[in-house]
Every structure is written in structure tokens, then in C-alpha cells.
Symmetry: C2
Subunit: 148 residues, 2 copies
DNA sequence: ATACATGCAAACATTTTGCTTTGGC
DNA sequence: GCCAAAGCAAAATGTTTGCATGTAT
């Protein structure tokens, strides 16, 4: 398995971690599985709970925190801005886009998987302002169909 | 002066506040002036400092906090996601768009005032997912021309 | 004169770190 | 066995609230 492999799975990420010299522990397996199974961004607490279900023992909050910080640095997860009081994280498949649609009323979060609506704009803006290595964070907020 | 007036100034906002039954104090004048003069989103601390320069006396942090919460509820300011550890706020001229370009290296923030790149996409997404009252939060992150 | 706004201080929530023990390699 | 990872607990940071006093109306 090499770095340009087109798979992105708990296994491939585990390999990536190993290549970084990191150890694969029960906690880390649980956290990875939690991230991969979730269909929406998760708070550290949610990751902690979900991880404990998978591996039977609940990792300490600090452990989750350090693991996620690590993965963020390695671009394996990214933070999502849900306009709430704590941070939410999501696994980062490099081949995917992660724009979100959030219901202001019930909080439900939908991942938008249609092609990224602003790829062109991004390039234009980079050029205009002399910025490079552009990425973006895009969240839509509205009221979903089932909310009054 | 009526609500559909096309001006958006410290004076017009002051009027809006008065109409809400709020009192115009030295602190509030300072905070308003700070918000209007800034070319980038400000933290509550920054607002506090800037306000104190303008009116000579430094409002308490809690006072700034309550004022900004109030203005947020009235849609006179909005929060901006700069991926930092505290919240940033910006005055909300209803006729303008507020998308941002942030340098990952030096933190410099540029307001993008070209026409909003995703008006159409927004409508499409609303339709597709059955959401209404859509708004969005869009920030670009990159490295600016003056950073290595 | 009457509320609303303020300052101060404390409570709260969340994130981050230090240090000892555990366990993957 | 060695060193990274985990657990525990405390510190640091940022946000929010309660209450007595000041002040715009």
C-alpha cells in the first residue's frame, strides 16, 4: 500500500499512523472506528463515547483530545464550524469535499456531497489576493423540512 | 429615517437600538464606533480596548459581552469563524456580504467584497435538501503573499 | 423616579498541560 | 526494556451569570 492509494479506510489510516511512528492502541482503534462510522462531525465527548462502545473501555477525554490534535496536524481529521460552544471534528478523506448544511432549529447536520460549489471562485480569489494553498470552510445554515 | 433606509452608519444603528428601547451610553457609543472603524472581525477583548480608546473609559468585559450578544440577536453583528480559540465579531451591514480570506501563517484577515461566489449554489442546495431561510459562513484559508 | 446598564466577582464550560503509570513495540 | 500513550487531576482560557450600584431616560 502506498501513499497515492485510492482507498481511505480505518486500515489505511492505521497504516498512515504507523508510518508516522505512532503506536496502535485499543483507544486509537476505537477513536478511528468512531470517526469512520459517523455520518456527521463529532465533538470530543461524542468521539469518546463512541470509541468506548467499540472497544469496550472508555478512553480518557485527554487521550481523545491528544489523538484528535495529532490527527488534525496530519490532516487526517478537520474541524467543522457548527456555531456551537465546542469544536466538532470529521475524518478527512483527501478525495472528498466537506461542506455542511446545518439546521438552525434542530441542529441536524447534513454533509453536502454534490460537487464543491466554489472551486472556481477559490482559484479566482487566490489569484486576486496573492494567496496560495487555499482551502475553505463552508457551512450553510437554514431550517430543515421537518422543523416548523 | 425609516427601516428601509439605505444608509448603515453608527447613527443609523444607534437609532435602531433606540427603537428597541435600549439606552445609548458612553460604552455603547464606544463599542459601536470600534465596530464601524475596524476593517477586520474583532474579538471581545479587541472591541473592549478599541472602545476604551474612543470614549476614554474602558467598558467592563461583561458589558462588551452583553452588548455584542444583544446586537447579534438583533442581527447588527455576526460571528466570524477564524479557527481561533475565541469568537470574532463584525458589524452586519444587511446589504453586504461577509466572506473572508485568512492567512494561515500571519493570521491576517481580508474581507472579500467581490460579489458572493455562491448565491446560486445556496438556492440549489436549499431546494435539494428542503431547507429554507438559508445563510452561510464561508472562509478561505491560505498563505498570503508576504508570508514565506 | 424608574428601569436599564454597568462593574465586579464568581460560576461555568471547554481546552490544555504535567506527571505518574501502563502497555505497544 | 524502552519510550510513547493513557489516565488522572489540575491549570489555563474563554464565556456567562448574579447582584449591588450607577445613570439614561
Amino acid at each position: 500500500m502506498n501513499r497515492s492509494d485510492s482507498t481511505f479506510t480505518p486500515e489505511s489510516v492505521t497504516e498512515a499512523l504507523r508510518r508516522e511512528g505512532l503506536r496502535i492502541t485499543r483507544n486509537r482503534r476505537g477513536i478511528l472506528q468512531a470517526l469512520f462510522e459517523s455520518v456527521r462531525p463529532m465533538s470530543l465527548q461524542e468521539i469518546q463515547s463512541a470509541a468506548s462502545v467499540h472497544e469496550g473501555s472508555r478512553p480518557d477525554y485527554a487521550t481523545v483530545f491528544r489523538m484528535i490534535m495529532l490527527m488534525e496536524k496530519l490532516h487526517l481529521v478537520h474541524k467543522v464550524n457548527l456555531q456551537r460552544s465546542c469544536s466538532y471534528y470529521e475524518i478527512s478523506d483527501p478525495r472528498k469535499h466537506y461542506d455542511h448544511l446545518v439546521c438552525r432549529s434542530c441542529g441536524n447536520v447534513v454533509l453536502i456531497d454534490t460537487p464543491c460549489p466554489i472551486g472556481d471562485a477559490e482559484k479566482k480569489i487566490a489569484l486576486q489576493h496573492g494567496f496560495r494553498d487555499l482551502s475553505h470552510s463552508l457551512e450553510f445554515f437554514g431550517v430543515c423540512a421537518t422543523c416548523p
